[in-house]
């Protein structure tokens, strides 16, 4: 590492990894419940598992982004992070909110709105935590020697994510209005400002790993995020097809969400062409795997699988089925989870001074997670299409259809097991790295 205060990042990533383990555990509870094995129902009913699975995902990704920002901004701004003690305080506050929310979900303390289940009382603590986080970043950038497009895009995405959290705090009696503004948070995060965060991290990694000129990488970064907003903002309309608002959203949402894959395609082409153009052979090959993997898999998961069911004529049948879960899993994995793994894999040797660059365990973790996720998503695809055909086309009862999906859920469990094996190997490597050390300052 170049700056002592970059060490803060490690602790955010450690929290991310802990939450990921919880997310996977509850994911298995859900998978087995779909197969009829729900022995924990009395203590952990499905809605608790589902809420924990989703919310740990959101929080571990956010904690991963925060770690990424604390690692990247000092280096981009060429200065130490402002107020590192406050950054640790912010981490503690985030952990407290996370623990309180996760505990609360087991005692019916939640909002009951998908992805935004965090109890309203805790929303204010989240807002305070995020304000503190952003203040640290902005002050660091202001006192820095250098201002880069990469850091502006990254922090811009984080500021956008914070602002977009606010509509989610609004409360409505009408389910239509509730849903309408809930998507301002969820959609405009994952198909909007989070892509800026991803773009910022990706640009940083491409600069470091390929050695291509910063100006070239940042120019194309603007094009990628331009396409993101051009398609993604009005693409929100694909969530408004069937919630009781005007049918104009069928046209607007249909057209613009069909354009959304373009942003991810541009991101893939950008990353791959920068890699090809690059003359630097960085020894951290596994970080390069994760970086290019994120760019490619995000296109497949968020782009291609999103397009598969985004047109209203198709979505009329697939909406509210496991087809959505299929898209959601690969999109979150490719776009956001993999980019967090990419920055961690790049940064860990620099933070700890241990150069585990191109290790068999690192490669195995990469391939097992990706192969496991591919099987998992294929199983959800098969289950989703079967469900659509039997339930929506032939008109079978929901409960009867679920029994026909059992074989697919067994395949899903196999995929999830392979995936979890990969994650376990990654975690063992994460622990083997040890804690960040000041001595690592000289070795980067």
């Amino acid at each position: 590492m170049k700056y002592r205060t970059q060490k803060v990042a490690y602790w955010f990533w450690a929290l991310s990894m802990l939450l990921l383990v919880i997310q996977l555990t509850y994911g298995f509870f859900m998978g087995f419940a779909h197969l009829g094995y729900d022995g924990l129902h009395k203590w952990i009913p499905f809605n608790t598992s589902h809420t924990v699975h989703l919310n740990t995902l959101v929080v571990w990704l956010i904690s991963g982004f925060m770690g990424a920002a604390y690692y990247i901004i000092p280096e981009e701004s060429e200065t130490e992070l402002c107020c590192p003690k406050l950054a640790y305080l912010q981490l503690i506050a985030l952990t407290v909110v996370g623990v309180a929310a996760l505990t609360g979900y087991h005692f019916n303390w939640w909002e009951g709105r998908k992805f935004l289940e965090i109890p309203h009382e805790l929303d204010y603590l989240v807002a305070l935590d995020v304000v503190l986080f952003l203040a640290i970043l902005v002050i660091t950038m202001a006192k820095g020697k250098r201002r880069t497009t990469t850091s502006f895009v990254l922090v811009g995405g984080l500021v956008g994510a914070a602002l977009l959290y606010l509509p989610g705090m609004l409360q409505f009696d009408s389910q239509t209005l509730d849903s309408f503004f809930r998507w301002w948070v969820v959609h405009l995060w994952v198909e909007g400002v989070w892509e800026l965060i991803m773009g910022g991290i990706l640009a940083f990694l491409l600069i470091k790993l390929t050695g291509v000129d910063r100006e070239v990488i940042e120019k194309w970064l603007y094009v990628v995020i331009g396409l993101t907003f051009l398609s993604g903002i009005l693409g929100t309309g694909h969530h408004y097809y069937y919630i009781g608002v005007h049918k104009i959203w069928l046209i607007v949402g249909g057209i613009f969400s069909a354009l959304e894959p373009l942003a991810f395609l541009a991101m893939t082409l950008w990353a791959v062409s920068m890699y090809r153009k690059g003359e630097r052979k960085h020894p951290n090959k596994i970080a390069l795997y994760w970086t290019l993997g994120a760019a490619i898999t995000s296109f497949l998961g968020a782009g291609v699988l999103g397009l598969a069911h985004t047109l209203p004529q198709v979505n009329l049948y697939t909406h509210g089925t496991l087809v959505t879960a299929m898209h959601g899993h690969l999109a979150f994995w490719g776009a956001y989870a993999m980019i967090v793994f990419a920055i961690m894999t790049y940064a860990m040797p620099n933070l700890t001074g241990r150069k585990f660059y191109d290790t068999p365990s690192g490669r195995m973790a990469f391939w097992l997670t990706n192969v496991g996720m591919a099987i998992h998503v294929s199983a959800l695809a098969a289950a989703g299409v079967t469900q659509v055909y039997l339930e929506r086309i032939l008109g079978y009862d929901f409960g009867d259809v679920q029994k026909y999906l059992y074989p697919h859920f067994w395949v899903l469990i196999i995929g999830a097991t392979i995936f979890s094996t990969g994650i376990t190997i990654y975690l063992i490597d994460f622990i083997r790295y040890g804690l960040p050390k000041d001595e690592a300052l000289a070795t980067t």
Binding site: A33, H34, G36, D38, P45, F46, N47, H50, T51, N108, W110, E111, G112, R113, K114, D173, S174, Q175, T176, L177, D178, S179, F180, K219, W220, Y222, V223, G226, L227, F229, L230, I233, L234, G237, Y240, Y241, Y242, I243, G244, V245, H246, W249, L250, V252, L316, Y317, H319, G320, T321, L322, T324, R392, I393, L394, G395, D397, F398, G399, Q402, K403
Partner: protein, 144 residues
């Protein structure tokens, strides 16, 4: 060849234009949303959220895909059935899938029913016809 400043311009202008259109469409469409909701339905929605029903079921296609879609549940099952389910103090297991025994009071169950009825009356651009055995294609098959 595209310069960095042109790329920057593309980003800012593109974002600004689409954002303005999005806000315009939001205002336009929300003006047409009927927000009149009976008090009982509003209370029902509160109970719906308090118990995180969306954590298993879907409504208007949104939720967790583990338990049935409830947009048309009153038309499909009738009020008495739904009331019975919500007031049951015994855990039950429709077609092998367990549901929490909420043991609601009659008032709470009626509020939930009012909420479901309110949702069931909404024009959902065709989705209301897909819920249950009346999907357009299934309907055509029945006619045949």
């Amino acid at each position: 060849m595209l310069s960095k400043s042109q790329a920057k311009l593309f980003f800012f202008v593109g974002t600004a234009v689409t954002f303005v259109i999005f806000i315009g469409l939001t205002v336009f469409s929300l003006k047409q949303v009927n927000t009149d909701m009976p008090e009982a339905a509003a209370r029902g929605k509160h109970i719906w959220e308090k118990n995180n029903c969306m954590g298993c079921h879907t409504i208007m296609g949104e939720g967790a895909y583990y338990a049935p879609e409830l947009t048309n549940v009153i038309k499909r099952r009738g009020e008495d059935y739904v009331r019975g389910v919500l007031m049951s103090k015994q855990p039950w297991q429709p077609k092998g899938r367990k549901m929490v025994a909420y043991g609601m009071s009659e008032q709470e169950a009626n509020d939930m029913i009012a909420f479901f009825k309110w949702i069931g009356r909404k024009n959902l651009n065709g989705f209301e016809k897909v819920d249950r055995t009346v999907s357009p294609l299934a309907k055509n098959r029945m006619k045949d």
